[in-house]
Symmetry: C2
Subunit: 214 residues, 2 copies
């Protein structure tokens, strides 16, 4: 089977957001033109992205909103709950532990962990900050597959090795460093400074950036 680019998956997430919105408002069908306009892409791209997963919609009638919403949720693996642990109880960890958008999409934060004894035991909304000493055994007991890494660059790889050994299979990395994972582990990195660098590049080289390929 053909492999799927990360940028395609991001667009699927975006289609889903708008389709859910249309579904809530009772709209029955949506055209590729409409989805493209809402998501800032082209109708041809919408048709190509969706055709990959089978035949949706009929020429001239558009996509059935409710059916496509359900199908996209299934494709994205959102028809179930995912247990997530957050490593690092700093400001980014705090922002993520309380992020409404996670729970809405079926991501449940089952634990927040920190090295700092002064933080351990404190309550953060529904979660209590736990010691890193119990991290590995908690991952195994909870069978949590996803970890969010919100720790400094220095400790990142050592923590990654520890949580991967404990069973984590997907990592969202906010530590400002490149980390290595074995092939069976999925990794996505968000680097705040690199995002701003993309903007300084755009400001410096106006017109050079191909927004369509972003």
């Amino acid at each position: 089977m053909k492999r799927i680019a990360d940028s395609t998956v991001r667009r699927l997430s975006m289609y889903l957001r708008y389709l859910e919105d249309l579904d809530t408002r009772g709209q029955q069908t949506a055209s590729s033109d409409e989805l493209a306009h809402l998501c800032g892409t082209t109708p041809a791209q919408v048709r190509k992205d969706l055709s990959f997963f089978g035949s949706f919609g009929k020429r001239g009638l558009g996509y059935p909103v409710h059916e496509l919403t359900a199908h996209l949720r299934e494709i994205l693996g959102l028809q179930r709950e995912w247990k997530v642990i957050i490593v690092g109880a700093g400001k980014i960890g705090a922002a993520l532990a309380n992020y409404r958008g996670f729970r809405q999409r079926g991501f449940t934060v089952v634990g927040v962990y920190d090295h700092d004894p002064a933080k351990v035991g404190k309550a953060w909304g529904d979660a209590t900050i736990r010691s890193m000493d119990t991290l590995a055994q908690d991952i195994q007991r909870e069978e949590a597959p996803i970890a969010v890494l919100a720790i400094p660059a220095e400790n990142a790889q050592a923590v990654v090795d520890q949580i991967v050994a404990a069973g984590i299979r997907a990592i969202l990395n906010f530590a400002p460093t490149q980390i290595s994972v074995p092939p069976h582990v999925s990794l996505k990195s968000v680097n705040m400074a690199m995002e701003l660098e993309g903007l300084s590049f755009a400001l410096t080289n106006a017109g050079l950036l191909d927004q369509g390929a972003a």
Copy 2:
């Protein structure tokens, strides 16, 4: 001139990070193999990315580390200071206002803004939280070109319209919604829930994700 994909700019940021590290350690030259290995890409991709901006390095000798570092900083627009305002003094705003990585790359946070009267006037590290009432005039006075948006989805577009009218030319958006900007304004969005959805997709469809195209 050919336009450049966003993914290329991200790789340039990454090459720069490793070259700076090699430069600090006194290494004179780096091969495309070495850069590719450090950045998780292929030597052919490294050569292609760098050739776009002119002819660096000599066949068999590798790239001159110090010279290429300086050139990449110039390409990315990092040889100057960029003034940044942060809109939203919630947890993500707090994490970003204090993010060391910004200052290290020449991004100076000149103001943090919030609607909440209870927050206005409070000191956050070097910055004091200011009222949204002065946002537009501050952007004009400081000539800040970059805004980071860390506010709820509901207010996002209204705030964007206001800051763009005041002179903002680049926006890093953390509000979990699609926003519209005029063509002269650059926009990058980070959506935490969508990042996790990329991981749930990968966990659900093991082997389907083309990591190389990410």
